[in-house]
C-alpha cells in the first residue's frame, strides 16, 4: 500500500508542476508569435 501512497504523491506533483510547465511553454510560444506579429522578432532569438 505504501507504493500507492508514493504513487499518489508522484501523480499530484506531476499534475501540478506539469500543468505549470505547459502554461509557461504556452506563454513563451505565444509571446514569440505576438512579437513576430508586431514586427519585433522573437525575444531572445534571431528572426527566422
Amino acid at each position: 500500500m505504501e507504493a500507492y501512497l508514493y504513487g499518489s504523491y508522484a501523480v499530484a506533483l506531476i499534475a501540478i508542476i506539469g500543468y505549470q510547465v505547459f502554461v509557461q511553454a504556452r506563454i513563451k510560444s505565444l509571446s514569440a508569435k505576438v512579437d513576430v506579429m508586431h514586427g519585433h522578432g522573437p525575444r531572445g532569438g534571431s528572426t527566422p
Binding site: M1, E2, Y4, L5, Y6, G7, S8, Y9, V11, A12, L13, A15, I16, I17, Y19, Q20, V23, Q24, R26, I27, L30, S31, K33, V34, M37
Partner: protein, 223 residues
Amino acid sequence: MASALQWLSAALLIAGMSWGLFFAPTEQNMGEIYRALYVHVPSALTAFLVSFVLLGVSIWGLIKKSPASAYYGKALAEAGFIYTCLALATGSIWGRATWGVWWTWDARLTTTLILGIQYAGFLALYDAYEDINKRITACAVMGILIAINVPIVYKSVTWWRTLHQPPSLMRPGGSTMSPEIMTPLFFCLFAFIFAALVNCYQRYRSLALENTLDDYREEHLAA
C-alpha cells in the same frame, strides 16, 4: 516575476509534500497510509476555494460581459478540474486502504465526482461557443452551479450517512488533530492554494495572448 512565483510555488509544493511524506509523525490508528491526507485534503480544499473565486468571476462576467472574465473563468475551471481529479484519485487510494474498495457511490465521493464533471462541463462550454457574449453567459451560469454544489459536497458527510469520515479540520469544538500532524497539513494547503493562484494568473495571460493572435489573424483575413 511570474516565472519566479512559479518556481517558488514548485519549491513550496516539494517542501510541503516532503514534510508530510517523510517528517510528519505516523498516525497511531491508520499507520502510514494516513499520509495521503497531505495531498488529498489540500487538493479538495483548493478545488473548493477555486469554485468560490470562480463564482465571483462568473458574477463579474454576467454584469460586465468582459472577455477577461471568460479567460479567468477558464483558467480557474482548469485548476478546479485538476485539483478535483487529484482529490478523487488520492481519496480512492486512501479508500482502498481503509475501506477495502477503490470506489463506492458514497455521498461525498458522488458529489465530488459531480463537481469534477461540472468543471469539465465549464471547459466544454467555453469551447462550444464562438460568440464571446454567449460564451461568457453560458460559462457564468455553470460557474454559479459549481459554487452551489461545493457546500453540498462539504456538508454531504453530515447530511447523509456516508463511509467518508466527518470534517476533521473545520468541525464544531475545533480539530482533534495533533499540532505535529496539522502544521504540515496547513503548509501543504498553503502551497496548493499558492500554486493554483499562480497557475491561474499565468493561464489567464496565455489565454489573453491567444485572443490577441486570433484578433490579428481575423483582421488580416478580412483585409
